[in-house]
């Protein structure tokens, strides 16, 4: 067949179209690294979708929902290996300056319930703790939860502390205020209904309130201490699962098991003993932000933490075993119970206001919530390293500030919980910081000297290595090819100078530096971190961090 001009022109156009489309995908875009995850679509169509406790529990215990491919890098991180702000997460501790006062305040940007009479508008619909919903004298809606009689201040204290720590860690938290009331302060309008059994409601009576209060801890002056949680803004559309995406949220494109802030809950959960980590303890709400509806995700019920649940201290195995694990179950069965796990013999701290939490032998690698989830299963060493850096950023003063907000009656409780969290923090750092090449805070000066920190050494959980070695490259962002410049070495983490062939470049050009630590006793630290810097008009900007997994 003779090639016609039409055919030649069309073929050429097609080849150019394909080639140009591929060639036009650089490694780094001008807006890298993203400080905030874009949410470009309107999510007003997201509908309420309640997560069922029973099926969520069984699915997570006996199946492996979500992506089971091992070793998948987190999908919501930006090019410098950080989690951008989003409707899931806001960078706070370790990223922006926070004071102890900031942590004391936490998510609470307003005031607690207005003084005066409160109008009961219904029973409490979520969480295990006894309570009800009220409107304060200004008409604002609050969810009140009480402590059970045998554990005064335990459940409300745990919420007070945990909500502040998780706010500082970056999660959306409900505004929660400790308050107190007397039964006589409550009004019950005839329109308030009380569900006595599924499908049957009747007007609430004072006896219904008395029934709740009869099981609740009462203060010495006859009042009741409550944790008052402000109604979350927006339209509630259920909770989020720790796998997959919401099919009705156009902006939710990263499977939840690949969201780093959810994988990081393996570390944060271990630190705070967040054993009741389940979809039912989350809330999604549709809010309007910058003229567009987006779905905001809350870790909503963080009360079952440290050593206590809503009703009683944690069981000894909580934090150590899932509700069902085949291996230990069979071993205990055939050994008549003589197959013992550490939780059965290790010492525990016990305190009426704190519940029960292990004293020694905390092992975050083996910490387990009651049921695991896909995000925890997918956590990689770079995710846990990222999380450990945030735990490291908590000073003792900050932790004490959060604990003080529990207003425990016994000063020893405050001291003990602070000490527990500090001890567990130290174990977290010792476990997760040295697991990969623990370098952070990279910067490239105009002279070409690269500075960085060794986080494991900085926080005293590893000895300084013998030195560091770096390979330097010119990097073509368009073709994504690296051309060697040379290698250099340094004996300390103060910085590392460029090799002899180093020349400054024009703005818009890139360099790649592969750096690793030299320490024969830590082979994992020989895995390089690839760093990418972009020359700007004023200096060098870090645009890429790629850690090699052990």
């Amino acid at each position: 067949m003779r090639a016609t001009p039409w055919f030649i022109a069309a073929t050429t156009a097609a080849v150019l179209t394909i080639a140009s489309s591929h060639a036009a995908a650089p490694k780094f875009y001008p807006d890298d690294p993203l400080p905030r995850e874009p949410e470009t679509q309107d999510a007003s169509g997201a509908a309420n979708s309640d997560v069922d406790l029973f099926s969520d529990l069984l699915i997570n215990l006996f199946m492996k929902p979500g992506d089971v491919t091992p070793g998948v890098r987190a999908g919501n991180i930006n090019t410098i290996d950080e989690v951008p702000d989003s409707s899931w997460f806001t960078n706070r501790i370790g990223t922006v300056p926070l004071s102890a006062a900031d942590i004391s305040r936490g998510a609470n940007v307003g005031q607690g319930p207005a003084p005066g009479r409160w109008t009961v508008i219904g029973a409490k619909m979520s969480g295990a703790a006894p309570g009800f919903r009220v409107k304060d004298s200004k008409g604002e809606v609050w969810f009140l939860s009480l402590d059970v009689k045998r554990a005064p201040r335990a459940a409300t204290g745990a919420i007070a502390v945990a909500s502040r720590l998780y706010w500082a860690l970056g999660y959306h938290q409900v505004e929660s205020y400790l308050a107190s009331f007397r039964p006589g302060d409550l009004d019950i309008p005839e329109t308030t209904l009380f569900e006595t059994r599924p499908g049957h409601s009747r007007p609430m009576s004072p006896d219904d309130i008395d029934e709740v209060l009869s099981h609740s801890a009462r203060n010495a002056d006859g009042s009741y201490r409550v944790m008052a949680a402000r109604l979350i803004p927006g339209r509630i559309v259920g909770g989020f699962r720790y796998h997959g995406t919401r099919p009705d949220d156009p902006n939710d494109i990263v499977p939840h098991e690949h969201r780093r802030e959810l994988r990081a809950l393996q570390v944060f959960g271990a630190w705070t003993n967040f054993v009741d980590m389940k979809a039912l303890n989350t809330i999604d709400t549709v809010i309007e932000e910058n003229g567009r509806h987006v779905v905001r995700h809350y870790l909503q019920d963080v009360g079952s933490m440290f050593g206590t649940g809503a009703y009683e201290p944690h069981d000894w195995d909580q934090g150590h075993e899932y509700l069902y694990e085949g291996g230990p179950t069979w071993r205990r069965l055939v050994t008549a119970g003589f197959y013992l796990l550490p939780w059965q013999t290790k010492p525990f701290y016990e305190h009426p206001e704190l519940g029960r939490i292990e004293a020694k032998g905390f092992d975050p690698d083996h910490w387990k919530p009651m049921a695991t989830n896909a995000a925890l299963r997918q956590a990689r060493a770079d995710d846990t390293f990222w999380a450990a850096l945030r735990v490291a950023a908590f000073s003792e003063e900050m932790i004490r500030a959060a604990v003080r907000e529990a207003r425990y009656a016994d000063p020893d409780a405050e001291v003990m919980l602070t000490r527990i969290l500090m001890e567990r923090r130290q174990v977290i750092l010792r476990t997760y910081l040295p697991r990969i090449t623990p370098l952070t805070s990279f910067a490239l000066t105009s002279t070409g000297r690269m500075t960085f920190e060794n986080a494991a050494v900085k926080y005293g959980v590893a000895a300084a290595p013998a030195g560091y070695r770096a390979a330097w490259f010119n990097f073509d962002n368009t073709t994504q090819t690296a051309t060697a410049i040379g290698e250099s070495a340094s004996a300390s983490a103060d910085g590392i100078d460029p090799p002899a062939g180093w020349r400054d470049v024009q703005p818009g050009a890139y360099v790649k530096i592969s750096i690793h630590a030299v320490d024969p006793s830590r082979p994992d630290w020989a895995k390089p971190i690839d760093l990418f810097f972009r020359r700007t008009a004023t200096g060098w900007q870090l645009v890429g961090v790629e850690r090699t997994m052990p």
Partner: protein
């Protein structure tokens, strides 16, 4: 013609190049790249759809939270009746009150129909529960081996009874740990020849060896029971104890021949060992007929045997005016949420005189059990026990004690 072919070629190439290029559409920024993916998803939005497993589990959960008015269960008609099917119709009223109708039929042709109502949460502090029921049951082959301990398996005879009953009961918790129960029941009995394998009772026994044989008395049975109960709420537990005392009086309304009273005392204690790695569970019971003159009909004598007392023996295996038994279980817990194992030792004796109760005369049984349970109730218990009469298997949905 050529022109048309050229147009086709161009169109095909254009389409192919568009398709190949589309996944890599160049974006100007990372934000645009993410935005394009979100835009693509926006075209495919749909509500959350549970998968097949979730649908099944949701259906089960819905059934648990909102049980249908008619349910099927395996509750027994009368101990020893064998596998029993129950149809229960329950209808709620008021806050948490309900009335129900129940019909049951077992493989041994035991039958029961019953209607009743339960009204909980009465009183200022909602600590009073009132319940009442009327019913009729037919137990076709209840075993009788004679009185006392000196009986053998070969002594078995059967009797059949039909009972019409009506009960009113009040349960009150003076404190969470102090339950008190008071009840009055009309019990009208009709006794018949026993069915099933083995002789009928009148062929083997006489009124001297089976008190009341040949009579069908009616009773007004009143009882009161109080306990100190430190166990957590629910039937299944691994800690706490219950110490109870009860008094029963049976008034024979047909002349008083068979009127009698009985004292019942019980103690249950669960002792967790090393953080509930093991649990030592113990029970001791005494049932004693008050006064030596009263006649207690054979079918109302205290008994031992069955799935919750001497587990190596059949239900009703031992009968007499006084009964004492003890159970010791060493439980280990392969899974704290759902699975217990147990080795157990049962011992007990019946006697015609209280003073004749002697531990060295106790019949004994040893065994091993598997229990599937939920947080507060037993799902299924399977105990295999061995005693002088051989092996015995118990399958139940109740805790042994």
């Amino acid at each position: 013609m050529a022109s048309r072919r050229n147009i086709c070629v161009v169109a095909v190439l254009g389409a192919v190049s568009f398709c190949l290029a589309r996944p890599c559409v160049a974006q100007e920024s990372r934000a645009a790249e993410i935005g394009a993916k979100q835009s693509e998803k926006a075209q495919q939005l749909k509500p959350y759809q549970p998968n097949v497993v979730e649908k099944v589990l949701l259906r089960l959960e819905e059934g648990r939270l909102n049980p249908p008015p008619i349910t099927v269960s395996f509750d027994t008609v009368y101990s020893g009746g064998g596998l029993t099917g129950n149809v229960l119709y329950r209808r709620h009223y008021g806050d948490r009150s309900n009335w129900y109708g129940r019909a049951a039929y077992s493989v041994k042709h035991y039958k029961l129909v019953e209607v009743g109502t339960t009204v909980p949460d009465l009183g200022r502090k909602r600590r009073l529960t009132f319940s009442t029921n009327i019913g009729w049951r037919d137990a076709t082959e209840v075993g009788f081996w004679g009185l006392g301990m000196a009986t053998t398996e070969a002594d078995r005879a059967n009797y059949r009874f039909r009972e019409a009953y009506g009960e009113a009961r009040a349960d009150y918790r003076a404190a969470p740990w102090l339950p008190v129960s008071v009840g009055v029941t009309f019990e009208g009995y009709e006794l018949f020849s026993g069915e099933g394998r083995g002789p009928s009772i009148e062929d083997v026994y006489t009124p001297a060896t089976a008190p009341g044989l040949g009579d069908s008395p009616d009773f007004v049975h009143s009882d009161i029971r109080a306990a100190i109960d430190t166990r957590p709420p629910g039937e299944y537990t691994r800690k706490g104890g219950e110490y109870s005392l009860g008094l029963h009086h049976y008034q024979d309304v047909d002349g008083g021949t068979y009127s009698f009273s009985r004292l019942e005392a019980g103690a249950v204690q669960h002792i967790p060992v090393i953080r509930e790695t093991w649990v030592l569970s113990m029970r001791a019971r005494l049932r004693s007929t008050i006064g030596g003159e009263s006649q207690v009909p054979y079918f109302l004598l205290p008994t031992l045997g069955g799935g919750s007392s001497l587990r190596a023996y059949s239900s009703w295996r031992f009968r007499d005016r006084h009964a004492a038994d003890a159970n010791l279980e060493w439980r280990w817990i392969p899974n704290r949420a759902a699975l217990d194992m147990a080795v157990f030792f049962d011992a007990g004796q019946v006697a015609d005189e209280f003073n004749a109760l002697r531990p060295n005369r106790f019949a004994t049984a040893v065994g091993v059990g598997v229990r599937l349970h939920a947080r507060q109730f037993m799902v299924m218990r399977m105990d295999v026990a061995h005693g002088s009469a051989g092996w015995h298997l118990t399958i139940s949905n109740k805790v042994p004690f």
